[in-house]
């Protein structure tokens, strides 16, 4: 790392996360003019986008090579009042909360009180959504059955393919013109809507060109004033680049990176899509530019690395827009889930690992930044050396990269109806979500609390915490004659509650389709231009809506306990069990010990327990998979929690697996914390018993002490562990490499461990920024010592 990068990295690490009112002010100014009433809604939105990019401050950081910030400075985060209007109280919470805080200064509060809140109150999309949803949805939401991603952020969750490396904005404008020319106003009743959407796309494309030119002008100005000769030349070169991209297709490595970065800024300025935009298969996209640069002598490896390092810093400067309330609990982090994909296969199915893959791995190891996150796609066609190199990075304990099974992802996507080629061009984004990059809108709609469904089943659908009938009325559990009776009632609750969620999704999708088009994002996802249809309205080639199941380990263990103790061994009656649960095991300690220590658990390759995992998974899949969405897509499931397993645990009383009231649930498809005691192969075997190819992603966390990675032989064995899991169609595995003692020390002396990054659940986070219970959970996770 040279001095320049060191300085930029320090600058990024030291920047304080704060709220910037700039975007909110510009947006409000624009809408206050009333000019939008003369235009269609998408055109109005595009004009607002153009207005913001045209007026927002241009920030060029000292010494940087890739330029552009979403806010006026690094980590100055804008707000999106048209989506979710922060109250003054919300701003106070953001400013004062201990974890993941954002500084809110007096001027922001004043402008919110005087200008932003008065204008947007009653007009935000969040209010629109909450006013539209039926009472069953609200009851279930309040009970903690599911969360709602689109409540505070826009549907996002997509990844760029290779389009921008082939076309400039001027090319896209031309394509838009051609599509507009083909519209048939006689036979196509949607022709008008298409024309308006295409117009909006054109405005948005041109807005980005102007935005880049504003940077070019600023760079030229700085160059004039710059005394140092080298930097002066650099600034002039950067200005030239900004005059070329994004207007035209990039020709050099530097241009490709700068182009992507402008597109990234555009997407996250237009709206606040949940899971930020992502360049995806970076080692594939950049390879032609890298090789060409080496050939024509304009680039060498060192320069390429420096540019990549500069590029990395830009991601770290952009925290996830802050959430509040329940939504903050389910995913409270600065991470905006940009997941760089490396390796995998090419569109023709051949091994995609190349020299740039290894260079980018070096960059990841060197930077050790929270953002962007990174992963490796491992196909059976990739060499072991690729995994070996990655494990060397994992060993350093920074939680990245994580390991994904390309061959499984491809099959998952093909099963959902993608072409083989589109599937191979895909990967995983966010935490673990499979997607066809550049061609798919895959919207995460919310986490679904599988364990809570059992609690409702044991209470005839009644939620004791909120005092409301959140589920449907099912039979009194004391009348269950067999485990099958219980399973049937559980299935009825699950079907009912997923249907509530799906109905809500289909309402929310229409609200976004009608009110919140994203013409800029639509430029980049095929086939929005060809269809003349917005990303949020179903314009993409593939449209998928996910519901993410949470707590598989907990629900499996809880059902297994009932099967074992109430129906098979008859150590307790259902009545007795319910009593123990409502007492939170007070005076039932002996029984709780039996539950914890002497009852089959998921994660030990024990069919007695794992059968229940298959049962619940099958029910959840059947209830959700293939149900239509209101934008022409299909609902699918995946199994990942982010941090929602902590929130979901907080709304559930004691469970029959011995977990006490309020404690976190298991995360992803990992066993409940401490429930696995047969080692990692048994965990992987249990996890592979659910048919993961039916999902769009599962998350499995394994904690290892660093000693696990010592020596070439150990690395080879871990490689076999990964290969073995992937041969059984496992989707993803990540390794948390850190000693419990270090973590405890970090809890005690956070100031000494400011750089400590741990894998949370599909992403890494600063240990210091995690809540105490989450910290405790990470400490507790089974540590597999002894290799």
């Amino acid at each position: 790392m040279n001095d320049r990068i060191k300085k930029l990295r320090e600058q990024s690490l030291n920047a304080v996360n704060c709220i910037s009112a700039e975007r909110a002010i510009l947006l409000t100014e624009f809408y206050e003019t009333g000019i939008v009433s003369q235009f269609s809604l998408p055109v109005g939105r595009a004009m607002a986008f153009d207005y913001i990019l045209g007026k927002k401050s241009v920030c060029i950081n000292d010494g940087e090579l890739i330029t552009g910030e979403r806010g006026p400075a690094p980590k100055a985060c804008p707000t999106y009042p048209e989506i979710c209007l922060h109250s003054l109280e919300d701003l106070e919470i953001l400013d004062s909360r201990k974890k993941v805080s954002f500084k809110v200064d007096e001027s922001v509060r004043r402008v919110y009180a005087e200008k932003i809140i008065p204008f947007w109150k009653g007009r935000s999309n969040r209010e629109r959504i909450m006013n539209s949803l039926p009472v069953e949805w609200l009851n279930a939401y309040e009970a903690g059955i599911f969360t709602e991603f689109q409540e505070q952020r826009a549907p996002g969750h997509t990844v760029l393919g290779n389009k921008i490396y082939r076309f400039g904005m001027t090319d896209l404008v031309k394509q838009i013109g051609e599509e507009a020319g083909r519209l048939d106003f006689i036979n196509d009743s949607a022709a008008f809507e298409k024309r308006e959407e295409l117009k909006a796309m054109e405005i948005a494309a041109k807005a980005l060109i102007s935005f880049a030119e504003r940077h070019a002008a600023e760079l030229e100005k700085l160059a004039k004033k710059e005394p140092a000769k080298n930097r002066k030349a650099e600034l002039m070169k950067m200005a030239l680049i900004c005059r070329r991209v994004p207007a035209y297709a990039p020709e050099t490595f530097h241009e490709a990176l700068q182009y992507y970065w402008f597109v990234h800024l555009g997407v996250i300025t237009e709206l606040n899509p949940w899971d930020s935009f992502n360049p995806g298969r970076l080692d594939q996209h950049l390879l032609p530019f890298y090789r060409k640069g080496l050939e024509d002598g304009t680039l060498d490896k060192e320069k390429a690395v420096e540019l990549l390092l500069s590029f990395w810093i830009k991601f770290n400067n952009h925290p996830s827009p802050p959430k509040v309330g329940v939504t903050a609990l389910e995913s409270n982090t600065y991470t905006d889930f940009c997941l760089i994909n490396l390796g995998g296969v090419k569109a023709d199915g051949t091994d995609a690992v190349n020299e740039l893959t290894f260079i980018i791995l070096d960059v990841i190891e060197e930077m050790r930044l929270l953002q962007p996150s990174s992963m490796v796609q491992v196909s059976k066609k990739n060499p072991d050396s690729f995994i070996h190199r990655t494990l060397q990075i994992t060993k350093t304990g920074f939680g990245q990269p994580s390991y994904f099974n390309t061959d499984a992802i491809t099959q998952e996507l093909v099963r959902q109806g993608k072409s083989l080629e589109d599937a191979r061009n895909g990967g995983a984004s966010g935490c673990v979500e499979a997607g066809a990059f550049g061609t798919e809108a895959y919207i995460l709609s919310g986490y679904f609390n599988l364990a809570k469904v059992l609690e409702l089943t044991l209470n005839e659908g009644f939620d004791t915490r909120t005092g409301k009938q959140a589920g449907i009325k099912t039979a009194n559990p004391e009348t269950f004659a067999s485990f099958e009776d219980l399973a049937e009632a559980f299935g009825q609750q699950l079907e009912y509650l997923t249907a509530v969620k799906i109905r809500g999704n289909n309402m929310i999708h229409r609200i976004f389709a009608g009110q919140m088009p994203v013409p800029f994002l639509s430029l980049f996802i095929d086939d929005c231009i060809r269809n003349g249809m917005d990303y949020n309205a179903g314009g993409a080639r593939y449209n998928t809506t996910y519901i993410q199941g949470v707590g598989l380990g907990s629900i499996t263990d809880a059902l297994t306990s009932i099967k074992y103790h109430v129906f098979d061994k008859k150590t307790i009656t259902m009545k007795g069990l319910l009593k123990a649960l409502s007492a939170d095991f007070m005076d039932f300690e002996e029984f709780r010990k039996e539950l914890v220590y002497h009852t089959p658990k998921y994660g030990n390759d024990d069919d007695y327990a794992d059968e229940q995992a298959r049962l619940v998974f099958g029910m959840f899949f059947k209830a959700v998979d293939s149900k239509p969405t209101s934008v022409g897509g299909r609902h699918r499931i995946n199994m990942l929690p982010t941090t929602s397993h902590v929130y979901f645990g907080s709304v559930i009383g004691a469970l029959p697996d011995g977990r006490m009231a309020g404690q976190p649930l298991s995360e992803g498809i990992s066993p409940f914390q401490g429930a696995d005691h047969k080692g990692p192969t048994a965990v992987l075997k249990s996890a592979a018993k659910i048919d993961q190819l039916l999902t769009g992603g599962t998350l499995l966390n394994q904690k290892f002490s660093p000693s696990f990675f010592d020596g070439q032989e150990a690395i080879a064995k871990l490689t076999s562990l990964i290969r073995g899991y992937f041969r059984m169609d496992g989707h993803h595995i990540q390794f948390n490499v850190v000693s419990a003692a270090t973590l405890r020390d970090a809890q005690k002396y956070p100031e000494k461990h400011r750089d400590l990054i741990v894998r949370v659940a599909g992403y890494s986070d600063y240990f210091n920024d995690l809540g105490e219970d989450l910290q405790n959970e990470i400490i507790r996770r089974t540590e597999h010592e002894g290799v």
């Binding site: 002996e590 220590y597 032989e713 290969r723 073995g724 059984m728 290799v787």
Partner: protein
Amino acid sequence: MQGLVFDIRRFTVHDGPGIRTTVFFKGCPLSCIWCHNPESQYGFPETTIKNLSLEGRIFKEEEVSGLWMNVDEIIEEVEKDRVFYDESGGGITVSGGEPTSQADFLLALLGEMKARGLNVALDTCGYVNWNQLAATMNYVDLYLYDLKLMDEALHLKYTGVSNKQILENLLKLAGFGKEIIIRLPVIPGINDSDENFGALKLFLERIKPRVREINLLPYHAAAGNKYKRFGKLNSMKNIKSMPMEALQGRKTELEGLGYTVKTGG
């Protein structure tokens, strides 16, 4: 026919090549004073009291160490990780205690494993009559052969038996061309002397082509609790764990002679 087993452990990565499952037989003819598995010594099930902790409260429970199992039951368990053996070139290690102490059962088990195409390693102290050891050769791909002390009198003193048969068997095994990993627990003040290593080197010279590698296993004082639980006298109370680095010199020394040497375990 049943065998007495005290543990079956998956994902063992120090008992031979690749990812392995290790089956631990209970009962051993030796009584090494440094034994870190005191529960493996007696050839019968033993009941101990175990403390289970829950929210700070301690529950005392009886626990039986040693389970009579038949071949099918063991096979069912060791078959579970086959996918990982395949990926890593691993397999099963039969260890103990001393597996050859249950010779008939051992042969039945090894035979079934071999028939299933599993890679089999046998971890033995070598204190067994030759015919019984020879019978395992058809089924075993690799021997993990423990050598503790080269001096007969000291061997008798610290393990309770002479090493004559052990050394003879090792020579014979090598003579049949079997692949062998030599495993040496290094106990401070007992067998880490120049004399012992000198004798070891001389002896190994005779079987050198068959020695695939040498594992030096540093003594660690982790078994103190177990001795207490099993009501056995821990004669090693005052001996401290040996840090891995302390073996570096011996490792280099043996590597200088052309052996592949690994430390740890």
